[in-house]
């Protein structure tokens, strides 16, 4: 199989085909026949717990590798390439914000952001860019030198956005980021996140089971419509 090299910059950020994944042979497998995301799309992905939200995010981030099928990131093979290549692609093109504990507790805020740039091998003007992002996220300048563990959870989640966006990734994966925030903080967080992503034309997959957040998105996808869970074949 030869890789197809597109002539211009790809508009397809992620392309999943015939994906199948199971944690082990006895576990039910997670099947996703086809899913494509264009540049700039912002998706609200919802579904009950156990539907495989986290599995999907792990697969899209390249932390898990499907047993069958392929994932292409920006038209490049992502699930079938070498581990080191996948780590590099993830560092450069994917940003992730988790529910909690996004930051390395013993590093300063600025070093947390620098770390992301370091793994993406983006040496230039990182600090400048980091301060710019912190500004846009309405965080004070002096927060940069504070240790991550001294921040409030709301502040930590905003720093997590700054870190996820420092390398200007094409794809942002967000996993229940507001579960630990109160309503006010949640609204502020959502509008800051979506404004920044709009400005950068970033594709966002926002996973949550909180229907109140759905209103921020025009595109909503129920995981059950996308994915089927197949019970394992018990071969005698």
């Amino acid at each position: 199989m030869t890789a197809k090299i597109p002539p211009s910059s790809p508009t397809q950020v992620i392309c999943v085909e015939h994906l199948e994944y199971a944690y082990n042979k006895q576990a039910p497998s997670f099947v996703l026949p086809k899913w494509q995301l264009e540049k700039g799309q912002r998706i609200f992905l919802h579904g009950p717990s156990g539907a495989g939200k986290t599995t999907l995010l792990n697969l899209l981030a390249g932390i898990l590798v499907p047993q069958q099928g392929t994932i292409h990131l920006l038209d490049k093979p992502f699930s079938t390439c070498r581990d080191s290549q996948r780590d590099k692609l993830r560092a450069q093109h994917i940003g992730v914000v988790f529910q909690q504990f996004n930051l390395i507790a013993h590093l300063s805020v600025l070093d947390n952001i620098r770390l992301a740039a370091y793994f993406a091998k983006q040496g230039k003007q990182v600090d400048e860019h980091a301060f710019d992002l912190l500004h846009k996220l309405q965080l004070p300048d002096n927060i940069a030198s504070q240790s991550a563990s001294s921040l409030s959870i709301g502040q930590q989640q905003r720093v997590a956005i700054a870190r996820a966006l420092i390398n200007a990734p094409e794809l942002l994966l967000v996993d229940e980021p507001t579960s630990a925030l109160d309503a006010n903080a949640r609204d502020a967080f959502m509008s800051l996140l979506l404004n920044l992503c709009e400005a950068h034309n970033t594709t966002v997959i926002f996973v949550s089971h909180d229907p109140q957040l759905a209103s921020y998105f025009s595109q909503k996808v129920a995981l059950q419509d996308l994915v089927t869970i197949k019970e394992p074949n018990h071969v005698v």
């Binding site: 995010l57 792990n58 780590d87 450069q92 504990f101 013993h106 070093d111 770390l115």
Partner: protein, 410 residues
């Protein structure tokens, strides 16, 4: 960035890191000290005497004779008669013979009765002669020459008077007050037991042991009579030969000498035997310090391994940021390396400090002249070995981090 990350991670666990560091510091210091003392003792022993072909004394063991005649340790079990010295001096094969009489001390420093020839014939190190830093050899019975350390420690200068005590202890109940000695010279430092010795003439030793009346009589006699005073007995004789090939022949002759009971030893052979005895003790010490080292390396590995559980979150974050599993492995190795290297550096400083502090005690009590400079090719090899070993043992937690990295989830 990896280095900064490792440093910051270590700082966040400073208590367990500090304890691990201390355990490494101690074990590396022990290892360095044992090795340093070993190499320095070997050097210090072999440089103690040079240019002396035979040491002749009363029959005992060759180590005993070597220890008291050269290292000023222990006491002569027996004496030889002065006529044996005369015999040696007149022997055809003998180039020079220097008598030695031991048994007295000055404020804890051994007193050596000898002839002025001692200062020309006794050599140390690589055939280096003794050199006077001030003054010169004694000429009169009640004159003394100080070793460099004695003069420095007791603050003596040429012209000062000293009193010698009977016996070799630091505290003596019998002082030879009637016969004070005048210092005529001070020797330059040699790094051998010579530095710790007070040298006087054989006549001086003989005179100070006289009863008060005889001593007064002796001291009022002419200087020619004074110098002709011959002791009956001496402790040993250092002998230099005209022809080295005659060494064994003469040794055999002396051991079978009918006129006196004599034993002749070759200093080189006796030193080698002494060294062999020390070597087995040192090998044991070396093995023990190696084991201590190993156990603190396991401590390092345990500390890092225990931290892996607290760090699952951290590892997941690093993986998401694009760190490869190999990077995580490296990160743990860098942490181990930081601790080990700083422990190596600190133990170099510590051992340097300790040897600077205790070099005098070692020299006084054990006759070991240890330099404080612990840097040597051997210690460099040892430290490199420690670093390599720490990298190997830290592979255990590092591989754990690698596996965690592979299985990390969002």
């Amino acid at each position: 960035m990896l280095f900064r990350f490792a440093l910051s991670s270590l700082k966040s666990r400073r208590k367990s890191v500090l304890l691990t560091f201390l355990s490494l510091l101690i074990s590396i210091s022990v290892l360095l000290s044992v090795e340093h003392i070993r190499s320095q003792a070997e050097q210090s022993f072999s440089r103690t005497v040079s240019g002396v072909d035979l040491i002749v004394g009363a029959p005992s063991g060759q180590l005993n004779l070597l220890l008291y005649s050269v290292f000023r340790m222990g006491s002569p079990t027996n004496s030889i008669s002065y006529s044996s010295y005369d015999m040696l001096q007149n022997h055809a094969q003998v180039a020079w013979a220097v008598p030695i009489a031991l048994g007295d001390a000055h404020r804890g420093y051994r007193v050596l009765g000898t002839s002025p020839d001692y200062f020309t014939h006794f050599h140390y190190g690589n055939k280096q002669p003794l050199v006077f830093s001030s003054g010169g050899a004694f000429a009169q019975p009640l004159e003394a020459v100080m070793g460099a350390d004695v003069a420095k420690k007791l603050g003596y200068q040429v012209g000062d008077d000293i009193v010698i005590s009977h016996g070799v202890g630091a505290v003596s109940f019998k002082n030879h007050d009637d016969a004070p000695f005048t210092i005529t010279g001070i020797l330059a430092p040699t790094g051998t037991p010579v530095d710790k010795t007070v040298h006087v003439s054989l006549q001086g030793i003989e005179a100070m042991h006289m009863p008060a009346k005889a001593l007064r009589q002796y001291l009022s006699a002419s200087s020619e009579t004074q110098l002709n005073l011959k002791p009956k007995q001496i402790s040993a004789v250092l002998v230099g030969l005209n022809n080295k090939f005659a060494t064994f022949t003469l040794q055999r002759q002396l051991n079978n000498y009918k006129g006196d009971r004599l034993m002749a030893i070759l200093p080189g052979v006796a030193l080698a035997q002494l060294w062999q005895m020390m070597a087995s003790v040192e090998n044991i010490l070396m093995a023990i310090s190696g084991l201590v080292m190993l156990s603190s390396l396991f401590g390092l590995s345990t500390m890092l391994l225990a931290s892996m559980q607290q760090r699952e979150q951290e590892i997941a974050v690093l993986r998401i940021l694009g760190a490869s599993s190999l990077t995580l492995l490296m990160l743990i190795m860098v942490e181990a390396l930081i601790i080990t290297l700083s422990a190596c550096l600190a133990s170099l400083l510590l051992t340097f400090g300790l040897f600077t502090l205790f070099s005098d005690t070692l020299a006084n009590h054990y006759g070991l002249f240890i330099s404080a400079n612990v840097l040597s090719p051997t210690s460099a090899v040892l430290l490199a070995g420690v670093v390599v070993a720490s990298l190997l043992t830290s592979l255990i937690p590092a591989i754990d981090a690698y596996r965690n990295g592979l299985h990390a989830r969002l």
